[in-house]
């Protein structure tokens, strides 16, 4: 063995020095490395790929339902009604997108119902003592903090997410209920409902706010390293950790983001009903789960996209609107949306099964 280190200060390996330079190590590619193929063919593949995706199914589903309602109810396609649907769906979409983060990271959050309830109660309580805007900010911060706590339990302490968040959710709902024993809290500020009732041009403010937050959520998931890491951790946590991904931090982040979105959904809901009511949480949570699954998000598969979840929320919003338009009892909502979920999952799973069987 040599005893004279020749280059004790050699630079780190630079196999791919500058990204646009010719590769330093050229092993004349014996086989097609991939990325060639002409553009049209690639676009063809992309279209085929798209049409097989669960998001696409959710979208088609939505379009079909809208078409049916358009033709059967003349009041469906009116500005007033569409604004109505928008207001109704905004809360749900925001909450469902938050849930998506946790599901993609391989977890689950059963405390979002409690977070929604708590955020509404906190906002309504504070609204008399400070400007409404600040009361909202404080409520969202509160829910975000709960998200951090969930994340620490799951990501650092290693507790089972379903148990931890169930427990945390119970506590939060309980706290919100204790605060409202004498009925929903009526904020003393008359501007409390402005967020839900005002319009920006033809669009309700609440829809614009929800859309903005959903776009941010989409950008984070699809464009940032955090988004990638969330998918990786959900896909295979061991492999993610071994590949150098900070899995604990990723989980904390996903629960935190979920908390922030639940808090935001909470103030939107509270502003809509004009009070702080602890009972809105649980039903909102179940609907949010429904929206997520309608949007093609698998449970435990870490697959799914914001666009699908938004479609899922819109499907539920349109269905509930349709039930109103047909003047059915609103309890039908549950039956119809349950059936829709079954139908949606059948549409997502069966084609793949059939394709695999076909010989």
């Amino acid at each position: 063995m040599s005893t004279k280190p020749k280059d004790a200060v050699s630079p780190p390996v630079e196999l791919r020095p500058a990204l646009d330079e010719a590769p330093a190590v050229d092993l004349a590619g014996r086989r097609d490395g991939g990325d060639t193929g002409d553009r049209a063919a690639r676009r063809g593949i992309r279209v085929a790929h798209l049409s097989a995706s669960p998001e696409f199914f959710a979208f088609v589903f939505l379009v079909v339902i809208c078409a049916v309602l358009t033709f059967s109810r003349s009041t469906f396609l009116t500005e007033y009604n569409l604004q109505n649907i928008g207001r109704q769906t905004a809360v749900l979409a925001v909450l469902a997108v938050g849930l998506l983060y946790v599901l993609l990271s391989g977890g689950i959050d059963l405390s979002v119902g409690g977070q929604v309830a708590l955020a509404g109660v906190v906002a309504a309580s504070l609204a008399g003592h400070m400007p409404v805007g600040w009361a909202f900010v404080a409520a969202v911060a509160c829910a975000t903090l709960i998200g951090v706590i969930n994340g620490l339990f799951v990501g650092v302490a290693g507790f089972s997410p379903i148990i931890v968040t169930l427990a945390v959710g119970q506590v939060l709902t309980g706290v919100a209920l204790v605060f409202t024993t004498s009925g929903p809290i009526q904020p003393s500020d008359s501007h409390y409902s402005d967020l839900a009732t005002a319009n920006l041009g033809a669009l309700p403010t609440i829809v614009v706010a929800a859309a903005a937050s959903v776009l941010v959520a989409h950008a984070i998931l699809s464009r940032t390293s955090l988004g990638r890491y969330i998918y990786s951790v959900g896909g295979n946590e061991t492999a993610a950790w071994l590949a150098g991904i900070p899995t604990a931090l990723v989980k904390i982040s996903s629960y935190t983001i979920c908390g922030a979105f639940a808090g935001f959904a909470g103030i939107l809901a509270s502003s809509r009903i004009g009070s702080g009511d602890a009972s809105v949480g649980p039903s909102q949570m179940l609907e949010a789960f429904a929206a997520v699954f309608l949007g093609g998000v698998g449970f435990g598969t870490a697959r799914g996209k914001v666009i699908g979840v938004v479609c899922g929320a819109l499907i539920l919003g349109v269905i509930s609107n349709g039930i109103d338009l047909f003047q059915l009892n609103s309890d039908w909502q549950y039956i119809v949306s349950g059936a829709m979920i079954l139908l949606a999952i059948a549409f997502q799973v069966l084609p793949a099964r059939l394709a695999a069987r076909r010989s």
């Binding site: 063995m1 040599s2 280190p5 020749k6 280059d7 004790a8 200060v9 050699s10 630079p11 780190p12 390996v13 630079e14 196999l15 791919r16 990204l19 646009d20 590769p23 190590v25 092993l27 590619g29 014996r30 086989r31 097609d32 490395g33 991939g34 990325d35 193929g37 690639r42 593949i45 085929a48 790929h49 464009r223 940032t224 390293s225 955090l226 990638r228 890491y229 998918y231 990786s232 959900g234 896909g235 295979n236 061991t238 492999a239 993610a240 950790w241 071994l242 590949a243 150098g244 991904i245 900070p246 598969t301 870490a302 697959r303 069987r357 076909r358 010989s359």
Partner: protein
């Protein structure tokens, strides 16, 4: 003997084709295997071996062509159908139910479908014991599968395949992640199966395994059966057939060429460990120095601590005692992320469990460890990422029809290359790798070796942990032998040969542990 010229072959696939989303995996393949015949099946990564097996065993159905068993057309819809016809399959990682006992696993499926409501009997059936005896694992019958080693699980899978009156067993790279001793035992078992008149279809990338095991060898290239040769065909012949016209350098030539340059390459010390031990005590009192420019192999049986030692260096396992210096500074590595931060890249063994994100595309997989290189303030720059991944795919010869395809749709060997690319992407100065070429075809292996050589030539170092001793002899500059947690020797230069490595492992074991997998870890005796 019942051999007659006119008897139909035991199994035949005639004119079989299979496409995956428009890409041909198999085109017009015809394969006939007689009763009791042992057939080898070789080909590059992605040649279609696993696909052909899946069609023969009912896990996939062909687009065109037919499968016949003893002259009759077979319509398998799932692996159980094939099993009922006497065809069992053993994979690199065989699918067993981890929380059931060995005996329960072997009996799983058949009786349940006959009488769905009857309680499963507690008593193990005699056929189950017979089958376990055939593979020499009768003592495992009541063990829970999750407590078994990989090799033991394979024995169980074989027993399962034989227990239903198995007439043929298909092996898809059974040795790719076994230690040498375990592989040797597996060959014993295969010998017994052959003696019992059971036909074999044996897929491997370790060509030296073939001659003792098989009668004839079929070569697949790009989805076509291009040749059928006798089992004694030389490795060089096979490699040439697999690769087509291109010449592939022989592994012993690589070794000679490389060793001649070891001295010039050696640089400063990058890893200096003294008195190392992990918290569980799987290895103790290990001193280890790794210099820039060298490939150091850690060699030992599964209980030697060799794998654990490399995991400590990679940050994947906590150091218990001792001082580990990286580039002259003592470090405490709590996670692979911290190791990457210090320029140590890790490529773990067991691709499925420790490597692949099943929901990711090829591009996302390769970029996963190097996102900081292609992001600005956490936002991924799509063009830079595309460029980085395209370069790495070319360098590592990852053959995928497009980078956005799912990583799980790649053939096993190509997945392995993609994971190697992921490790390289973070530009490590030291690469710790476990079985880097498990399931990689000979040309691809050559390419990966060349990559490792390039990496060390550029001043990096490699710590290698491989169950393939030929690989160790081919590419490493030094091999450190471990025995039961202690360093017992070192081989380098001309002494670093496959037989010496083998001897280094087993001389220690003389009179010691039973090399049979069923004895691993618990057998008595000592050095």
């Amino acid at each position: 003997m019942t051999v007659t010229g006119t008897a139909p072959p035991f199994i035949e696939a005639v004119g079989v084709s299979k496409h995956f989303s428009g890409v041909a995996a198999l085109s017009d393949v015809t394969l006939r295997i007689g009763a009791g015949e042992a057939r080898g099946l070789v080909g590059e990564n992605g040649a279609g071996k696993s696909t052909l097996i899946a069609i023969l065993t009912g896990a996939l159905s062909a687009d065109q062509g037919i499968v016949r068993i003893k002259g009759e057309e077979a319509h398998f819809h799932r692996p159980l159908d094939a099993l009922r016809n006497g065809i069992g399959t053993v994979y690199q990682h065989s699918a067993l139910v981890p929380n059931l006992s060995v005996a329960q696993n072997i009996e799983l499926g058949v009786e349940v479908t006959k009488t769905p409501l009857r309680l499963l009997t507690r008593r193990t059936r005699p056929e189950t014991f017979e089958a376990l005896e055939l593979v020499g694992a009768a003592d495992l019958a009541q063990r829970t599968v999750s407590t078994l080693t990989l090799a033991q699980r394979q024995l169980v899978a074989i027993a399962r395949a034989c227990s239903r009156g198995g007439r043929m067993i298909v092996f898809d790279e059974p040795t790719a992640s076994l230690a040498p001793a375990e592989s040797r035992y597996l060959f014993d078992v295969i010998g017994r199966l052959r003696a019992a008149g059971i036909a074999l279809l044996y897929v491997t990338h370790r060509l030296d395994e073939l001659a003792p095991v098989v009668d004839r060898i079929t070569v697949l290239r790009a989805g076509r059966a291009v040749a059928e040769c006798p089992g004694t065909a030389s490795e060089q012949e096979l490699v040439d057939l697999m690769a087509g016209h291109e010449a592939v350098e022989r592994e012993d030539e690589i070794a000679v060429r490389r060793r001649s340059t070891t001295r010039q390459r050696l640089g400063g010390v990058i890893i200096d460990g003294s008195g190392l031990a992990d918290a569980a005590g799987t290895f103790r009192d290990v001193d280890l120095t790794v210099r820039r420019g060298e490939i150091v192999a850690l060699v030992g049986l599964p209980d030697s601590g060799a794998v654990e030692l490399s995991q400590v260096i990679a940050g994947a396992r906590r150091l218990g005692v001792g001082v580990l210096e990286v580039n002259g500074r003592p470090v405490t590595l709590r996670s692979p992320a911290q190791a990457i931060g210090r320029g140590i890249g890790y490529m773990a063994g067991d691709r499925k469990v420790k490597g692949v994100f099943p929901n990711a595309s090829v591009r996302e997989t390769i970029a996963a460890s190097a996102l900081p290189r292609v992001t600005t303030l956490g936002v991924i720059r799509a063009r830079r990422e595309r460029q980085l991944v395209a370069d790495l795919m070319a360098t590592c010869r990852v053959s995928a029809s497009r980078p956005t395809m799912s990583i799980t749709a790649l053939s096993g060997g190509n997945q392995q290359k993609a994971l190697f690319a992921r490790t390289l992407a973070a530009q490590p100065r030291l690469i710790v790798c476990e079985d880097p070429t498990a399931g990689v075809d000979p040309p691809g292996r050559g390419a990966l070796y060349q990559l490792l050589f390039d990496v060390v030539a550029a001043g990096a170092a490699v710590v290698l942990n491989s169950s393939d001793l030929r690989e160790v002899a081919t590419i490493s500059d030094r091999a450190i032998l471990l025995w039961r947690g202690s360093v017992v020797g070192e081989l380098s230069g001309d002494a670093l040969t496959e037989p010496n490595l083998m001897r280094g492992q087993f001389d220690q074991a003389a009179g010691g542990p039973n090399p049979a997998p069923s004895g691993t870890g618990s057998a008595g005796g000592g050095p």
